[in-house]
């Protein structure tokens, strides 16, 4: 955990480099790290970087991190109640069909 935080700090610092190649490398590294804490810095690149290609890369990385964070939070929350209800009804119907088939056999 501390190692991850350290890496995040290093790459966030490099994201402010004057060298576009280093900023690009930082964007890639931050996407790999997947820390939501990198989103504001990536968003700053997206909003203000002079290089349009880097702005696009920052957006792609930012979206990947954001969606992964949303997905994780949904997984922790589990299936929605509607989905659980729907699955329960479907399983009951499948079971009834199976029982009916057994009876006929």
């Amino acid at each position: 955990m501390a190692e991850q935080a350290g890496a995040l700090a290093v790459w966030l610092e490099r994201l402010r480099s004057n060298d576009p190649a280093e900023r690009e490398a930082s964007i890639r590294a931050l996407e790999l790290l997947g820390e939501a804490g990198a989103l504001p810095a990536l968003a700053a690149v997206f909003a203000t970087d002079p290089d349009p290609a880097l702005r696009l890369k920052a957006q792609t990385a930012g979206k990947a991190i954001y969606y992964a964070a949303l997905h994780r939070s949904r997984e922790i929350g589990g299936a929605s109640e509607t989905e659980q209800q729907q699955a329960a009804e479907i399983l009951a119907k499948a079971r009834a069909r199976r029982a009916d088939r057994h009876l006929r056999e």
């Binding site: 504001p40 700053a44 920052a58 964070a69 939070s73 929350g77 729907q86 399983l91 499948a94």
Partner: protein, 168 residues
């Protein structure tokens, strides 16, 4: 790190934090935030924040016009619908095809059970599974007991296949 800070920053007293949140929402094209961002573009006390909010709102409106939504993006990323032919091929494979060995059938059953458990796992997984048909919202799913159960869930789009079936 969760994403709650985004909403907190957007509502917070620090104008720099509000700008950061607006930029993030624009970057990820979070169209669900369009109303909030539009409101900030009109009502924020800081002209600089209003300006960033206008910029963010324009990006979100463009995304919305394109048909983009976070829900769709998540669906496409994490629950891709299997191609119809692949789905049909898989379902066909669940039938007792002459020539398939019993070992292959058992292996296939194990694979789908594992994927099904992953797909339907809930926070209440430790609770005792509910066996009877629930009359109200269930706290936990009933057990999936057979290929029929799996096929029924698949037809309803509740299970998204990530199983590669071997030939033969």
């Amino acid at each position: 790190m969760t994403l709650h800070w985004l909403a907190d920053w957007l509502r917070g007293a620090d104008p720099r934090a509000r700008v950061d949140a607006l930029r993030v929402l624009a970057m990820v094209e979070e169209t669900r935030a369009l109303d909030a961002v539009t409101w900030i573009a009109t009502h924020d006390p800081e002209p600089g924040v209003r300006s960033v909010a206008e910029w963010a709102a324009a990006i979100l409106r463009d995304a919305q016009v394109r048909g983009h939504s976070t829900a769709k993006a998540l669906e496409a990323l994490y629950h891709p619908k299997p191609a119809p032919d692949r789905e049909a091929h898989f379902l066909l494979g669940l039938e007792a095809v002459p020539g398939r060995s019993r070992a292959q059938q058992i292996a296939l059953e194990h694979i789908y059970e594992r994927h099904l458990e992953e797909a339907l796992s809930t926070r209440q997984a430790d609770a005792a599974p509910v066996q009877p048909v629930p009359t109200s919202t269930p706290r936990a799913l009933p057990r999936v007991e057979s290929l029929d159960d799996f096929a029924a869930l698949l037809e309803a789009g509740l299970v998204h296949l990530r199983v590669e079936q071997s030939d033969g």
